[in-house]
């Protein structure tokens, strides 16, 4: 048995109205990859924030021992000094600064207060090499993809002489290839003796790389598996996580697909908003029938989100051409408002920036996109609003002490449920879902799939964009593949496998 690097004993942390952690224990050994797993709101992020000093000593109960020393971190700098570095669920890079500037932010390579840029760049280059990111250190963060940004975060952690690296859902926003890369990197670091704690809802990847797995449920430690000592399977973990058996990944569906085409897009093209020479979407054609669930598969940058947003009241792109036909009639949405009024809803992939008003409460977020439903002559019926919001909260099973809780205080997965609820509240005929299960635990995923199936059964049409191919295969009746802004395939569910989808997704139609 290898030595222990970190011990957290009887950690209890309460927020007003919520006991986020209740007597939690965590025991991490040196040089291992320790997975932390649990449902949305189980307390994973909170536990890591306690460990890294985001929630300072004195705001929680219990002890932390790091390398056998008692730790009482007052802030994040003190934990970093000891080599504990956390990469948060929400990336914290500054978009307008370069990679090098971001990496050494707060840790500038300076002599007597004057920054030594040469040294900064050279060190950055070395760090980027370690994370195998091949870009210019002076590139601005905003020009990088999410996967690359994640690597920059890791490089930044490395620059701090990290001993214990904490990654909170690092792969939630990554496609499979980028995820694979990242996990590979973690394994290499393990070889070099680094310890990491990895939080994720993707059980497969956890099982692939982890040495130990600790399961949290409702703020309590359920158990820790040592994988060298015992056999662990996915279903065992799921059972511990949700407290019951969950044999199926996808719920049963009552098929109610009609022949009537509800939503059809013809020859849809759009150009980049800042660079009107660059065509992003090329003559896209697709349709969805009443009660049908269709999927859109594509790699990062294939134009999935751009397609969805350009359809949704021209929220993306310039020089948009093409037609939308809804229920047999040609329609055109110049604004989001018109799209919503015509029964189209779009759930953004980026809940923080485009989905939610974080400083506002759950209730106001749920009702925002359809205030008409709770108002008359523009005057709100606030009692009705509370009742409706409460219903939606229950329907979506959002875990929060009250609908007056600020959304920023919810766990990531519960925020996602609020966004979804907000759009279901608009009672759309066509629901466009962009990565609807990002950052959502297995149990909640199942619930969300159920809600989607339910909507389909009631005759709604669903368009689902996802980077998780198994999800598309499991849920959809048909899947379109998108490659560089062009539809390259329209594949029926029965023929869809991950391999075929992958082939179409990488096959360019244009020569």
């Amino acid at each position: 048995m290898s030595e222990r690097i970190l011990e957290m004993n009887s950690i209890t942390k309460t927020f007003p109205g919520v006991k986020a952690l209740d007597d939690v224990n965590l025991d991490v050994r040196k040089g291992e990859i320790h997975a932390l797993i649990g449902e949305n709101g189980a307390g994973k992020s909170t536990l890591m924030k306690v460990l890294s000093g985001v929630h300072p000593y004195g705001t929680y109960e219990g002890d932390i021992l790091f390398q056998d020393n008692r730790c009482e971190f007052k802030n994040i700098n003190q934990s970093e000094e000891l080599g504990i570095v956390i990469i948060h669920q929400e990336l914290a890079l500054i978009p307008e600064l370069s990679i090098a500037e971001n990496i050494f932010l707060g840790n500038e390579q300076a002599t007597k207060g004057v920054i030594n840029w040469n040294k900064t760049i050279i060190e950055t280059r070395a760090l980027l090499k370690k994370v195998r990111l091949n870009v210019d250190p002076e590139e601005k963060i905003k020009n990088l993809g999410v996967g690359q940004q994640q690597l920059v975060e890791i490089a930044k952690a490395l620059s701090k002489k990290v001993k214990l690296l904490i990654l909170d859902e690092p792969t939630a926003a990554l496609n499979e290839e980028d995820s694979e890369n990242l996990l590979q990197l973690l394994k290499e670091f393990r070889e070099q003796g680094m310890t990491s704690i990895l939080i994720s809802h993707k059980l497969k990847e956890l099982l692939k790389v982890s040495d130990s797995i600790t399961v949290l449920r409702d703020g309590q430690t359920i158990r820790t598996y040592r994988r060298t000592e015992e056999e662990v399977t996915e279903s065992m973990i799921i059972k511990e996580m949700v407290g019951r058996d969950l044999t199926e990944l996808f719920p049963d569906r009552v098929y109610n697909v009609k022949d009537k085409v509800v939503f059809e897009v013809k020859d849809w093209s759009a150009y980049h908003p800042l660079d009107v020479e660059r065509q992003i979407l090329h003559n896209v054609n697709l349709h969805v029938k009443e009660g049908e669930i269709i999927g859109i598969a594509g790699l990062m940058g294939a134009g999935r989100t751009e397609l969805a947003m350009s359809l949704f009241g021209k929220s993306y792109g310039k020089k948009i051409t093409g037609t939308i036909i809804k229920n047999g009639k040609e329609v055109s949405f110049k604004t989001v408002d018109q799209a919503i009024k015509n029964g189209v809803a779009y759930v953004s992939e980026n809940r923080k920036e485009f989905g939610l008003i974080l400083i506002d409460d759950v209730k106001n977020n749920l009702t925002l996109a359809n205030l008409d439903r709770i108002s008359k002559h523009n005057v709100l019926n606030t009692s009705k609003e509370v009742v409706e919001a409460e219903n939606m909260k229950q329907r979506m099973n959002v875990k929060t002490p009250s609908i007056q809780q600020k959304v920023v205080n919810l766990s990531g997965g519960n925020q996602q449920k609020v966004v979804l609820g907000k759009w279901i509240f608009t009672d759309p005929d066509v629901l466009i879902l962009d990565e609807p299960t990002r950052g959502i635990d297995v149990g909640a995923k199942f619930e969300i799939y159920k809600i989607i199936n339910d909507l389909a059964e009631k005759g709604k049409s669903i368009i689902m964009i996802s980077s998780e191919l198994p999800e598309l295969v499991g849920m959809c009746d048909r899947i379109y593949t998108l490659c560089e802004g062009e539809i390259t395939g329209d594949i029926a569910a029965k023929d869809a496998t991950q391999e075929t989808l992958m082939t179409y997704m990488t096959q360019k139609g244009r020569s």
Binding site: T335, D337, I357, D360, V379
Partner: protein, 386 residues
């Protein structure tokens, strides 16, 4: 007890400012040997601060959408000047003059709103320009002179009192006392109605004894206030204007779709846009609104001075911003209440008045007000990080 604690901790911010206001008032009441809360002086405080309260309400909306308006003082001066030219020099009827001035305010607001909302120029720049432009135009309109005096009807807006319809002859203005009683009845009935629906839907409510305490407290405050006013000349017209504005804007912000949209635009413009809210249009109209209120402010001020002067409205923008910020606005947008802005303006107003009564010079007054502003915001920030 537990309930009270919960109630207090949930509303630290809201109660904090009210408590601060009461504290400051009591402090000056003692320091000025009881002059501060005499009927004459209470009436004075209202009249002196009415135009800042009007501005603060508009500024609160602006800050909620995440913008700022530095031009309001100059706009007020400009509109005051135009009012002078119209009503004094050109002998326009008062009512028509007021309408024209409000319209000019709206046009100025639309001008600034256009640059901010549709051309995407930061409001700091647009309104900094506006500050210079309208100060300059004030001088142009007045040709550097002061125009006076205004017709009586116009001055009434800021200095006359509602006559006692009951013809009370004694020390006390009977009408004002009656208004106080009527207001308390309306208040109690509306609170009861709210409580009834809350109970019906099983919403969280405060315990019944606490509810009674709240009703009694507010009823006492309302009647004490009207009683004090009644001992002087009764209700100033401008108080009615303020009352209507406060109730109206509170209603709009809390109970209408427009209010919700304004908060949403400030809270997260991207998310608001994707929720079907016309964010540009919203910002534009909030500036138009500010223009109208700045015009109203300019007229009340001119009426009070009984003159249109080139220096009118100097530094008003800073008082209005300070009032909004003390009242809970945040420059990141999305938070703040109309009621808060009014409390903030009163905090500044009582400070001004109290220090003047004590004979403290303008120099120290400025410095102390600055410190209070800083303290209020620091309190807020520290409270949030707890």
């Amino acid at each position: 007890m537990e309930g009270l604690k919960q109630l207090l901790s949930n509303n630290v911010r809201k109660f904090g400012m009210i408590i601060a206001l009461i504290g400051i008032a009591l402090l000056f009441q003692i320091l000025t040997d009881g002059i501060l809360l005499t009927p004459l002086n209470v009436t004075n405080i209202i009249m002196q601060n009415s135009y800042i309260i009007v501005l603060a309400i508009g500024m609160m909306l602006i800050i909620i959408t995440g913008e700022i308006d530095l031009s309001v003082g100059s706009v007020a001066a400009f509109v005051g000047a135009v009012a002078g030219v119209l009503m004094v020099t050109m002998d326009f009827p008062v009512f028509a003059g007021i309408l024209i001035c409000l319209a000019i305010g709206a046009i100025i607001g639309a001008w600034q709103g256009f640059w901010v909302a549709y051309v995407n120029i930061p409001s700091f720049i647009v309104t900094l320009a506006g500050m210079l432009i309208f100060r300059g135009l004030t001088l142009v309109v007045l040709q550097g002179q002061t125009i006076a005096p205004f017709p009586d009807g116009f001055r009434g807006l800021s200095s006359a009192f509602v006559p006692d319809v009951f013809g009370g002859e004694g020390e006390i203005q009977l009408f004002t006392v009656v208004v106080g009683i009527v207001l308390s009845v309306v208040y109690i009935l509306s609170e009861l109605k709210i409580r009834r629906t809350d109970l019906k839907y099983d919403f969280k409510t405060i315990s019944f004894p606490l509810f009674i305490v709240k009703l009694v407290l507010f009823t006492i405050v309302i009647n004490l206030f009207t009683y004090v006013l009644a001992q002087y000349e009764g209700i100033p017209y401008v108080l009615i204007v303020l009352f209507v504005l406060i109730i109206g804007y509170t209603f709009v912000m809390n109970k209408t779709v427009i209010g919700r949209h304004i908060y949403a635009v400030g809270g997260n413009a991207n998310a608001a846009q994707l929720s079907g809210i016309k964010t540009k249009k919203m910002k534009f109209w909030v500036f138009v609104n500010m223009g109208v209120l700045a015009a109203l402010c300019g007229m009340i001020f001119a009426g009070r001075l009984n003159a249109a002067t080139p220096q009118a409205g100097n530094l008003f923008e800073l008082d209005a911003i300070a009032a909004a910020v003390i009242g809970g606005a945040s420059f990141t947008g999305g938070v703040g209440t109309v009621f808060g802005a009014v409390i903030g303006a009163l905090v500044m107003g009582v400070l001004n008045n109290g220090m003047s009564l004590m004979g403290i010079g303008i120099d120290w007054q400025q410095a102390i007000k600055g410190l209070v502003l800083l303290a209020a915001v620091a309190f807020d920030v520290l409270n949030k990080n707890k």
